[in-house]
């Protein structure tokens, strides 16, 4: 459209949200504004997507010197990886405004702010700018969770907030360390991600910084031992927040790993990849198994989401292009499947006033359209071929097998684990006998049906014809892995030399 598309995508929603908060506008106005702004963002996003050239470099870049004396600049840009999270955000957010009609002003305003912040986080090409948006992202979630959450909301709010802030402060220290290291190696201050990738990091402090980053992102994703904030937050949060958290924000954690950690800390990453992937796989299995025992539908989806995030993260840790592309692809697939499932759960909650799986049953007979949509999203989330879920999962498993057959086999179990709890839930919610509560279930209204239609179609289209997406992702993935490839190459070369040496020795004997 013009050269400031990204800035517009970032600051239009934020400004709108702030204005709504500052002015005594009614909830009606707020909602209309929300719809308008998010639609505008959607248009911009689609515009970016169509104009995006399938090459690896950053595009739509913007650069304004900001704190030049410490090398902090306002610089934006999208590549194949950030593009899709941006797209997911701009495609999915309008749904929320269209679907939830009766919320308060703050609800819509916060949603707008978080949308802008997320766009900023994925577009930022300067690590400090990224950090700033990363933190701003949290605030609306904090307020929405605390203001509109369930009965145990305050505990959940404090948990997620302190957890996340603790992580990100560690990340801040790591970021500053990177800046200082760059200053000492190249004699100038610079926080541009592309510059930082040139750093040659080794030694204990670098590893510490790496751990700082990984903890921050592991909390956001969340990776296995750091997932404990997730079930409470996802369950207590209002539907839209859960949706935003699971569909997009968690993905930004993965994105950050791909974007900051993989190229910058190539050596440490290669060193820790096995450990990390194990935690990813274990988290996948653990949360998947935990999901089957949940009787709160939202909590079950929370665990399933955590389980999927484990597999997505694994794709990154496999350090090969199939895995990485797979997880980027799975990011959108998961956003459209599980994210939408959370919305459906919200709809069930709104209509039935309960989230208990036992209380439900036989909804399919009274709401065929709803059941159909739900089933499609569900099948996508269990990775059935023909839906978007399959492509990503297949690529990730493929990459995992390359990375280590053992991990690959463990990762494969996601096929089974996922289907177990999903079918078990589907049976108890949609099939079996209906009860006096569920007979009153109203099917999706025409409006709702139309709202969800694009997403559902997207699920199927992305399953049947993924190439247009993948051809945009892959070059970026290649670039991110370039450094890593070098280091691994070096290592491989060393091992090869060692082997040759061994052969020589044998020959000498």
């Amino acid at each position: 459209m013009f050269e400031h598309t990204l800035s517009l995508m970032i600051f239009l929603p934020i400004a709108a949200g702030l204005i709504l908060l500052l002015t005594p506008a009614g909830k009606g106005i707020a909602r209309v504004t929300g719809i308008a702004i998010s639609m505008a963002a959607l248009i911009l996003g689609v515009d970016v997507f169509t104009k995006f050239k399938p090459v690896g470099e950053l595009q739509f870049t913007e650069f304004i010197p900001w704190f030049p004396h410490v090398g902090i600049n306002y610089s934006l840009g999208v590549d194949g990886i950030s593009l899709f999270i941006l797209l997911a955000a701009s495609v999915l957010l309008p749904l929320v405004f269209l679907l939830f009609t009766t919320k308060e002003k703050g609800y819509y305003a916060n949603l707008l702010i978080v949308q802008g912040a997320m766009a900023g986080a994925v577009c930022a090409a300067d690590i400090i700018l990224f950090y700033i948006f990363w933190e701003i992202m949290l605030l609306p979630v904090f307020f929405m969770l605390g203001l509109y959450g369930g009965e145990k909301k305050i505990a959940a709010t404090l948990k997620i907030t302190i957890y996340t802030i603790a992580g990100s402060l560690l990340m801040l220290a790591a970021i500053i360390y990177l800046g200082v290291a760059y200053h000492s190696q190249f004699g100038e201050w610079n926080f541009a991600i592309s510059k930082l990738t040139q750093l040659d990091l080794n030694g204990g402090v670098a590893t510490l910084a790496f751990i700082g980053f990984m903890i921050a992102f592991a909390i956001k994703i969340p990776l296995f031992p750091f997932h404990t904030w997730l079930p409470d937050a996802y369950t207590e949060a209002p539907t839209a927040t859960t949706f935003v958290l699971s569909a997009i924000m968690a993905k930004i954690g993965v994105y950050a790993v791909i974007r900051m950690v993989v190229p910058v800390f190539d050596e440490d990453f290669a060193r820790f990849a096995l450990l990390l992937s194990l935690s990813g796989v274990f988290g996948m299995m653990y949360c998947g198994i935990a999901a089957i025992a949940q009787n709160d539908i939202k909590r079950m989806f929370a665990f399933s989401s955590a389980s999927h995030m484990g597999i997505i993260a694994l794709g990154v840790f496999t350090c090969n292009v199939q895995g990485l592309t797979g997880s980027v692809y799975q990011i959108i697939a998961h956003a459209t499947s599980t994210g939408v499932l959370f919305l459906f759960a919200g709809i069930i909650e709104d209509r039935m006033q309960t989230r208990k799986i036992e209380a439900l049953g036989g909804i399919a007979y009274h709401a065929p359209v709803f059941a159909l949509y739900f089933a499609i999203a569900l099948l996508a989330s269990v990775g059935l071929p023909g839906t978007s879920g399959f492509i990503g999962e297949f690529l990730i498993i493929l990459g995992a097998v390359k990375f280590s057959p053992f991990i690959g086999i463990l990762a494969g179990t996601t096929l089974i684990i996922g289907v177990c709890y999903m079918l078990w839930m589907f049976q108890r919610v949609f099939f079996e006998k209906d009860n006096e509560l569920t007979v009153t279930f109203k099917d999706l209204t025409l409006k709702e049906g139309i709202c969800f239609l694009p997403v559902v179609l997207l699920i199927i289209v992305m399953g049947l014809y993924p190439q247009p997406f993948i051809e945009k992702i892959e070059p970026a993935a290649q670039i991110q892995l370039a450094h890593l490839a070098d280091t691994q190459h070096v290592q491989v070369a060393d091992s090869v030399n060692a082997q040759d040496h061994g052969h020589l020795l044998e020959l000498n004997k």
Partner: protein, 636 residues
């Protein structure tokens, strides 16, 4: 190039379109069904069109020279990442064309039959939508030109089987049976996916479709090849109900009978065999894998036959006989007699579909009574069903000159010829058992006196729309065998020759005498089996009581219970443990502990703020003196 055919994609497309259309119509009209009658007809269009196209494919191929005998259509690039390049491509070669023919043929017949059988059901439309969807996926499976595309169909049919098994969703056990089928199949699919992955990293870099793979197969290291074969076979056991994953198929009988006939007898369950034949170019490299497949197959055949002898649900009997026959097929492909295996798939499709549809007619007549011990003497009431089913039964039991005879015999003979004595022996024994339990069923249901007079009185012959397919299939069951008439009967095995360019197999030369001997053995087994059945049940018999081994067998060796207690319950218990114990006490505990500690320390620290100014002065002095001490030490 002359090998490209742009119409291949339409073969699966027609049924899929039908599914979409009917599905949408259903969604919008299910509240007040209007098109009730038309759904069935619409549903039949797709399969029939596909059948026509299948014929066209067949004749196209026939017109081609022996070696270059294949048609390819690359619809579009599906996804391409690094070396992995997967096209949404379809491949028709002799193997797939054969499958195409009978899948579409039987599929169409069963669609027609269902119009009658499902009449007056609610969700009539849904049923046909699923059925069409299934047929489409099956055709994708058959036509897929690369493992990945095949996998799409592979899982698609799994989904449809889930949907159709749990078709009567109000009954919890049906849904559970469906879940069981889906999950067990998923376990198999895991094998498939991993097999694909290993295969790709081994030789997939230069194209991942069957042509390229076949070309590069010789690069495979033996170890990798074995891994791949076994993993793929795990997939096959899932889909085709072999040990240890056969448990879902008997439960799958919860679905409507046409479903059992189409999916769980004729087509889907044979996908595993088809897949092994597809990958014959790898299996040929690793005989070990082949013999493992063969042994698993034949043992499954044995086990299922034993179970089949004690069932009292007519569909369960047929289900176990299906498992058993599938075992034969795997024995066939295992001993590298791929054409024989596929040929058995082909014949089995006819007679097993026939038997199921017959059983369906009986159940229909008996108002959904499935227990054979509630039936009896139906011969007079429903002659067409009776005679057609007898034909089917003879074919299944391997009566000479029925289709089953030739195909099964071919397998056993090849086993013998390739030196697998054990497999041959077991196979012969199983042939006997097959004859026994098949005719046990026939006799109990149709001969003797009616055991439930009331039901008997209301029983009546099925309508034409149901009997017609029976008759057609009966003809098939009679004569399908002659397509592959062995030399010894003066035929020259057309099917074998037809498949020759696709599957990698060699025909050892064995003397006619041995061949005759083998044949006689199986004939003898057949006679013994049928004789025993006649003795026990011919004149009508009472429901037997089981004890000892028979009881053990009647309860299917308690395998289901075993699986339940070894896998399912622990799984659920772990989940519960995580929810109730681990989440609150282990993973969440550190957080809680830290926060409590934080608060405690904070409260404790208030003690120091005593509020007496002198104490504050003392703090200052103490701090001062400590600091000066440190200072003085640091100085010297």
């Amino acid at each position: 190039m002359e090998n490209s055919a742009t119409y291949l994609m339409y073969i699966p497309l027609f049924p899929l379109l039908g599914a979409v259309i009917i599905g949408l119509m259903h969604v919008f009209t299910c509240k007040r069904p209007i098109f009730e009658k038309f759904y069935g007809i619409i549903a039949c269009i797709g399969p029939i069109l596909s059948f026509v196209l299948a014929l066209r494919v067949f004749f196209n191929l026939k017109g081609m020279p022996e070696e270059g005998r294949y048609l390819i259509q690359k619809a579009f690039t599906w996804f391409q990442v690094g070396d992995l390049d997967v096209a949404m491509g379809f491949l028709a070669d002799p193997l797939s064309s054969l499958m195409l023919l009978f899948v579409t043929f039987i599929g169409s017949l069963i669609h027609i039959y269902s119009i009658g059988y499902m009449g007056g059901e609610k969700n009539y439309a849904k049923f046909f939508a699923y059925l069409n969807l299934f047929l489409g996926s099956m055709l994708v499976l058959v036509l897929g030109d690369s493992p990945v595309v095949m996998f799409v169909g592979w899982e698609g049919v799994g989904l449809c089987s889930y949907l159709l098994i749990s078709f009567y969703t109000t009954e919890t056990e049906n849904v559970i049976a469906g879940n069981k089928a889906f999950i067990v199949n998923r376990i198999g699919d895991l094998g498939f996916v991993l097999g694909m992955s290993f295969l790709f990293w081994a030789i997939g870099a230069h194209g991942f479709d069957y042509m390229a793979l076949k070309a590069n197969a010789h690069h495979l290291a033996p170890g990798v090849a074995l891994t791949v074969c076994l993993l793929l076979f795990v997939g096959a056991t899932g889909k085709s109900a072999q040990i240890p994953l056969y448990v879902w198929l008997p439960d799958a009988m919860a679905g409507p009978t046409p479903v059992s006939a189409l999916i769980h007898a004729a087509t889907m369950v044979t996908a595993g065999v088809y897949m092994v034949a597809r990958f014959s170019f790898i299996y040929a490299h690793v005989p070990v894998a082949g013999s493992i497949v063969a042994w698993v197959g034949i043992l499954t055949a044995l086990l299922a036959a034993i179970f089949g002898m004690f069932q009292d649900d007519i569909k369960k009997v047929l289900a176990y006989s299906t498992v058993s026959q599938l075992g034969y097929m795997f024995a066939g492909v295992g001993v590298a007699a791929y054409s024989a295996g596929i040929f058995h798939v082909f014949t089995h499709a006819f007679f097993k579909a026939l038997l199921f549809l017959g059983a369906g007619a009986v159940i229909y007549a008996m108002h959904h009574q499935q227990n054979i011990w509630k039936m009896g003497g139906l011969k007079k009431k429903m002659p067409i069903t009776y005679y057609t089913m007898v034909i089917g039964a003879l074919a299944l039991a391997g009566c000479p000159f029925f289709s089953g005879f030739f195909s099964k015999d071919e397998i056993l003979f090849m086993a013998l010829a390739n030196g697998h004595w054990g497999i041959w022996l077991v196979g012969v024994a199983v042939a006997g058992m097959t004859a026994y339990y098949t005719f046990r069923m026939i006799f109990v249901v149709f001969h003797g006196e009616p055991r439930d007079q009331h039901a008997y009185d209301h029983a009546h012959e099925a309508p034409l729309v149901m009997t017609l397919p029976l008759i057609i299939l009966a003809v098939g069951a009679l004569f399908a065998g002659y397509l592959n008439l062995p030399a010894i009967f003066g035929g020259d095995q057309e099917v074998t020759h037809w498949l020759a360019p696709v599957v990698v197999e060699h025909h050892p030369h064995v003397s006619k005498f041995v061949e005759l001997l083998a044949m006689c053995a199986s004939i003898v087994a057949f006679i013994i089996g049928i004789r025993l059945a006649w003795q026990r049940f011919g004149k009508g018999a009472e429901e037997p009581t089981f004890s000892g081994f028979t009881e053990f067998a009647y309860h299917k060796f308690y395998v289901d219970e075993l699986y339940d207690s070894v896998f399912v319950q622990p799984y659920k218990r772990i989940g519960g443990a995580i929810r109730n114990a681990i989440e609150p006490n282990v993973t969440d505990a550190p957080i809680k502990l830290v926060s409590q500690l934080y608060m405690m320390v904070g409260q404790a620290f208030k003690v120091f703020q005593v509020g007496f100014v002198r104490v504050y002065a003392i703090y200052m002095i103490v701090g001062l003196s400590v600091m000066s001490l440190i200072l003085s030490f640091s100085l010297n």
